[in-house]
């Protein structure tokens, strides 16, 4: 079959059943990406005879004698198409995975079309940006600042990979051609709970092209957890590579390795498995009842607080006396809230490729947020020397927590070990829904008491988390859920009870917001309800009760570290300003407004370490290596800016390497906002140490006092004298050692960041539609390192939160089957769904953070659902207490006075009584969970000799 791609002739037969997307990738055009393979996301958009199409829906045969254009061919070599230039100038991407499709669609738009982006961009989804930057690009707005020496921090420095990205030359995990590849596919359990009795693989084995089939009998029987944390103990080992007991529908049972994906898939269909089906339970409240099916009976039950009741983690704590607090209250509010399972929908699905090099080492190319921890885990599982493993990422297409987990690397390495052939496993979008981690569904009960003047007297929260079949992040998420959302308010009496419960649902995992999103929805909704009972304005209610300056940890001297008051003012003023859309005409529209707040502790709940390696090269530029991961979060750019700022050079003068176990020192990975807060701290320490050495060496050379030395634009400058870095390097003996430093930073509690979200909405009482008229977000993020990037994180978080609140929900039936495992039926926000938010920054500085910054990566999503819920309540007078606010629920709220949301039940009081009878062991656990995270670990500095 002949066709032209980007002006070049190709002649190659498609494989049977191949679509144009994979056909083009086989020809080496990797900018044609996959987000869904079903015509929903637009990541695969190419031009077909000049018109944009989803190449995943075009049979390859159709391209015969046609002309195809991919991003790589949009402009002649070495040039940029105006739309590529615009994307570059507006930095209209974070992870960049959607960018090639986005540019192909936008570049096809005429001037008139550009006026109607909400409509024209329906076929291109972006999970990271919240679309504002994309709109800016199409409108030709430039936001990138010039990279000026000594002014890196605080400037809109463009991303290191921006140019390659807009040209389609950046490579994501699957964008490489490797010969002789084996492809992995797995047989997944059709039952939610079962024992594997017999596996018949003869027919599959006989299929030509099938090279290896592995079952639980063929793999090392070592327990591990898929979750990755620096302190490996915080996630109990309860998982095996392959197991003879399956605890959720979709769990992998058999792995097939074959010459092509199609053959591997066919082989999976030929494998017959006999199961003994066991009773399953999906509701965590039911799972805690006596007689419920037990997921981990004796033996497998290590480190479960109460195996008989499937309670993996039970934590309970009280300060003050809550009972007395309620007695002192003039008003008490009590309510139940429910949050659903949602999916991360990072646009790049999970996947990795492993191979062995001639020296016998194994290389793993993967999309992880935690390369060093994956290395450790693989070494443990396969009893390998960690040094024999090289784990790295190139570009990663989004993570949001889902890639803080080892889901694909293990079976790839197993394939390499067993066959010697390079092995690849790429998940489908469907697999993300049926087997990938999602957000823990929470059932919550909040009780608040306050005096007539609004002062809170008691807060009580009970949270039941459905952690699913395996524990992975469940305990840590619960700990976080019970902490900062409750700590946001000053109140002498607080009580929290949490249960992380096993069910036969798909295991939940780490997710942007990490538990706080769920409990903040409950608490912030409840605060509004209580304010209403008291007749106090909800904004005032928060001013009265929120954490005050004197209580904020780390307050010191004259540094302004507290910005909550400013943030609340910003949002209040903006909502009163009359900006945003007016209410649509017609009586059926009701308008309302609401806010929600959150104090965000920005460090991981357990130990977290990061090391930075920094040296000066002979040509006077710097080389920075840090093991963090860059998946659209902007951390790579942030650390580069920090180093450049301290060293007085341009950001471009700091060559930066991340996410590579061979080329970077240890880093626990990028999650829990640690990218900037911990890795950034390590980089700052290293840069300051190197600065001192440069000045000292120059002072010696020039005979100047050290105290006068400054680093300015690539020179060490003293009064009247200066020396360039390259020259200094030449003149310094053993400069390669002298100007090479390594520093370690450990997570320390830093000052909380603070966020306020405000919305004005209109609810259509006819169609049950919710329309956002205005969105305002104010943050206290300390020093802003890169305003453009921070705005991107905030807008992305808001968009993610709007999706969670209005549309998203993984629908699972009574047998554990996911019904909406596609992006058509699991709707994430499109361009048209997301308003442009007004964003305000408080003027503060955090002495504990790198360059005065507070960490912010995941926080902005946290108050979104509650703020929307409060606005909807204000509009229609009814509280929506169950996420998402889909049309059927809005209808029920409007027209069904007997509210009874599915998923909630009223067993809470009974539970509480039982909870009184804690065993001694459980109490210990509670204490452990409560105390460990806040342990004060000082920053350490390790010198490299």
């Amino acid at each position: 079959m002949k066709l032209r791609v980007n002006g070049q002739e190709f002649d190659r037969e498609p494989a049977p059943g191949q679509c144009l997307r994979t056909y083009l990738r086989d020809l080496g055009w990797f900018a044609v990406r996959k987000g869904c393979d079903a015509g929903d996301c637009g990541a695969c958009t190419v031009w077909f005879d000049g018109r944009p199409v989803h190449s995943c829906l075009v049979p390859a045969f159709r391209a015969e004698n046609r002309e195809v254009t991919t991003l790589e061919g949009l402009a002649p070599d070495g040039q940029l198409h105006p739309m590529q230039e615009s994307f570059l100038q507006a930095q209209a991407f974070q992870c960049g995975f959607c960018t090639s499709g986005m540019i192909m669609t936008c570049a096809s738009l005429g001037e008139e079309d550009k006026q109607d982006l909400p409509f024209r961009l329906k076929g291109n989804l972006c999970r990271c940006t919240g679309y504002r930057a994309i709109e800016d690009a199409v409108r030709g707005r430039a936001v990138v600042d010039e990279d000026v020496a000594g002014r890196a921090c605080g400037s809109n420095i463009g991303s290191t990979f921006a140019t390659g990205l807009v040209r389609g030359r950046e490579h994501y995990t699957m964008d490489c051609a490797i010969d002789n590849l084996l492809h992995v596919k797995v047989v997944r359990s059709p039952h939610a709970h079962a024992k594997v009795l017999r596996i018949r693989q003869d027919a599959a084995k006989a299929l030509p092209g099938v090279r290896l089939i592995v079952t639980w009998e063929d793999v090392p029987r070592k327990p591990f957890t898929t979750a990755t944390h620096d302190e490996y103990h915080c996630n109990p080992d309860d998982t095996y590579l392959l197991d003879n007991v399956v605890r959720f529908r979709g769990q992998r049972v058999v792995a097939v390795y074959a010459d092509s994906e199609a053959i591997a898939e066919e082989a999976c269909r030929l494998i017959e498995i006999d199961y003994e089906v066991l009773p399953a339970v999906f509701d965590p409240e039911e799972a805690m009842q006596p007689g419920a099916p037990q997921l981990f009976p004796e033996g497998a039950a290590a480190r479960i607080d109460d195996p008989a009741r499937n309670i993996f983690k039970h934590t309970e704590s009280e300060i003050g006396d809550v009972a007395r607090g309620f007695e002192e209250a003039d008003e008490v509010y009590e309510g139940e809230y429910f949050t659903q399972r949602v999916q991360h929908v990072h646009l790049e699905t999970h996947g990795s490729i492993a191979w062995k090099s001639d020296d016998g080492r194994i290389h793993v190319r993967t999309d992880t947020q935690t390369p060093h921890l994956i290395q450790e885990k693989l070494a443990y599982l396969f009893s390998l020397d960690p040094k024999s493993l090289h784990v790295f990422s190139e570009r990663v297409g989004g993570g949001f927590g889902a890639k803080q987990e080892m889901l694909t690397e293990d079976l790839c390495v197993l394939g390499v070990l067993k066959t010697g052939r390079p092995t690849k496993w790429e998940w489908t979008r469907g697999e993300e829904f049926i087997a990938g981690p999602g957000r823990h569904p929470y059932q919550m009960r909040v009780k608040l008491g306050a005096r007539r003047d609004g002062t809170l007297t008691a807060i009580e929260l009970r949270a039941v988390s459905n952690t699913g079949a395996y524990r992975n992040h469940g305990g840590e998420v619960l700990a976080a859920a019970l902490r900062s959302p409750v700590e946001t308010y000053r109140c002498p009496n607080k009580k929290g009870a949490g249960y992380a419960v096993h069910t036969n649902a798909i295991p939940a995992g780490a997710f942007r917001g990490f538990g706080r999103t769920q409990t903040t929805f409950a608490i912030e909704s409840a605060i509004d309800e209580l304010a209403e009972k008291l007749g106090i304005d909800p904004i005032e209610m928060r001013r009265i009760n929120m954490l005050r300056e004197d209580r904020a940890p780390g307050a010191e001297g004259s540094t302004k570290i507290y910005g909550a008051d400013q943030c609340v003012d910003f949002v209040e003023q903006a909502l009163n300003s009359g900006r945003g859309e007016p209410k649509p005409a017609g009586d059926m529209w009701r308008e309302g407004r609401g806010i929600a707040i959150h104090f965000h502790e920005s460090s991981p709940p357990s130990q977290h370490r990061s090391q930075a390696d920094l040296f000066l090269g002979p040509n006077g530029t710097f080389h920075l290596a840090n093991g963090l991961a860059e998946f659209g979060n902007g951390s790579m750019n942030a650390i580069r800016q920090i180093a450049a700022q301290v060293l007085g050079v341009r950001a471009a003068d700091v060559e930066t390497v991340v996410a590579d176990t061979d080329r970077t020192p240890y880093d626990a990975g990028t999650f829990a906002c640690a990218g900037t807060s911990v890795s950034g701290k390590a980089v700052e320490l290293a840069a300051r140490a190197l600065k001192d050495r440069l000045i000292a060496a120059a002072a010696r050379r020039l005979g100047c006092p050290v105290a006068d030395g400054k680093l300015i634009d690539g020179h060490v400058v003293f009064a009247g004298q200066s020396i360039g870095f390259a020259e200094l390097y030449r003149q310094t003996p053993q400069a390669d050692q002298e100007f090479h430093v390594t520093r370690l930073a450990v997570a320390t509690p830093n000052s909380p960041a603070f966020l306020v979200q405000g919305f004005r909405v209109a609810v259509n009482t006819d169609t049950c539609e919710i329309r956002i008229l205005q969105s305002v977000h104010a943050v206290d993020a300390g020093t802003v390192l890169n305003p453009m990037q921070l705005a991107g994180q905030i807008e992305g978080g808001i968009a993610h939160g709007i999706g969670t609140t209005l549309f998203e929900r993984v629908v699972i039936d009574e047998e554990g089957e996911v019904l909406n495992a596609t992006l058509r039926n699991y709707r994430i926000p499109a361009f048209a769904d997301i308003p442009r938010s007004e964003i305000y920054y408080a003027d503060t500085r955090d002495p504990a953070g790198p360059m005065g910054a507070k960490a912010m990566g995941e926080a902005p999503i946290i108050p979104i659902s509650a703020a929307l819920g409060n606005a909807v309540k204000d509009a229609i007078g009814v509280r929506l207490s169950s996420l998402p606010f889909s049309a059927d629920r809005v209808y029920e709220a409007l027209y069904d006075s007997e509210l009874d949301w599915p998923g909630l039940n009223k067993r809470w009081t009974a539970e509480l009584d039982q909870a009184e009878q804690l065993t001694e062991l459980q109490r210990d656990n509670v204490r452990h969970a409560d105390e460990a995270p806040s342990e004060d670990v000082p920053n350490e500095a390790l010198e490299k000799s």
Partner: protein, 329 residues
């Protein structure tokens, strides 16, 4: 995806020669926006796929004084951009709501009408009727039928253009099984509610295909489509309605009111038609027509809300057709 043979004939009669009389063996490929997905998920597994993309006669739009004939392979974009669509606002509005730039340029009129239901049980391999409707009734029925759902079929007809086309009295020209066989069929008769897994949701033998859609001249009829959606993205509407009315001396003398996404077929609401004919279109009469349409609904456990949305959709499509859209839309 199962391996298949790909054929791209150049004439209508060659297409018919390549189609098998046995169900499931061959599939007709139009724009591919639905079929390719179904094949990837192995919901359909043909041995041969017959592409219509090279049959020039299927890509034409021809108009004379009585009717417009639109080839099945005309893309949704081409149809919306063609001047004839001025006469049929309901069609243009429906296309304007449809998905994305990409799907509009890839998707074709014939393919849009013949797309398979989006019912998640069907798409997950439970069969078209999802175990004779039991899976839906006991499972999650929020997006399923509220009319015509007494039998085992609970899915809704997914086509977004069919309500408008039925309201406009469109007919289909169907070819096959033999090269000179030709059937003209009102679109409303094309769709049916299957009673067993052996039946499809439309009357098309495996060796037939839709060649043209014939639209009668509107002769002064006004029309409009209205979709109720939750959000403004690429999702399917929750409920839609299309109305076509002929107004004389201020009163409706003839009307067609058709609901979409509410029944296994496009749902012609006799009740709404009876309620509006003989009256002027006003917010009150339109509301009454909506009430009338909704009065015969038989919602399932989870989709009572759709009854209200159906009422609203009927009301608004009538007001919109009459040019009375006054805010709130």
């Amino acid at each position: 995806m199962k391996a298949f043979e790909y054929a791209a004939p150049r004439s209508e009669s060659e297409v018919l020669e390549l189609l098998s009389g046995e169900a499931g063996h061959t599939e007709v490929l139009a724009g591919g926006t639905d079929l390719v997905g179904l094949m990837k998920k192995m919901i359909v597994t043909p041995d041969r796929v017959v592409s219509l993309s090279r049959v020039a006669s299927l890509k034409k739009i021809e108009a004379d004084s009585t009717a417009v004939r639109v080839g099945a392979m005309v893309s949704l974009d081409e149809l919306a951009e063609n001047p004839v669509s001025e006469f049929y606002p309901a069609i243009r509005q429906a296309i304007d709501e449809i998905a994305s730039l990409q799907l509009r340029s890839q998707g074709t009129l014939g393919g849009e009408l013949c797309q398979r239901p989006r019912c998640w049980y069907f798409r997950d391999g439970h069969g078209l009727l999802a175990a004779r409707g039991k899976d839906v009734v006991e499972g999650d029925s929020r997006f399923h039928a509220i009319f015509g759902n007494a039998g085992p079929a609970k899915f809704v007809c997914p086509s977004r253009l069919a309500p408008a086309l039925v309201a406009l009295d469109a007919r289909l020209r169907i070819l096959g099984p033999h090269s000179n066989d030709e059937t003209l069929m009102p679109l409303e008769a094309f769709y049916r509610t299957p009673k067993s897994e052996r039946e499809r949701e439309f009357l098309l033998d495996p060796n037939q295909f839709v060649a043209q859609v014939i639209l009668p001249h509107p002769e002064g009829r006004l029309s409009a489509s209205y979709e109720v959606r939750h959000g403004a993205g690429p999702e399917y509407p929750l409920v839609s309605a299309a109305s076509s009315i002929l107004v004389e001396r201020g009163r409706v003398v003839e009307a067609r009111v058709v609901l979409g996404q509410v029944a296994p077929t496009p749902w012609i609401s006799r009740e709404a038609i009876d309620a509006i004919v003989g009256r002027p279109v006003t917010p009150e009469t339109a509301e009454a027509a909506g009430e009338a349409a909704a009065s015969v609904a038989t919602p399932l456990r989870d989709n009572e809300y759709k009854v209200r949305l159906a009422k609203v959709a009927v009301k608004r499509s009538l007001l919109k057709a009459a040019g009375l859209e006054t805010g709130g839309f």
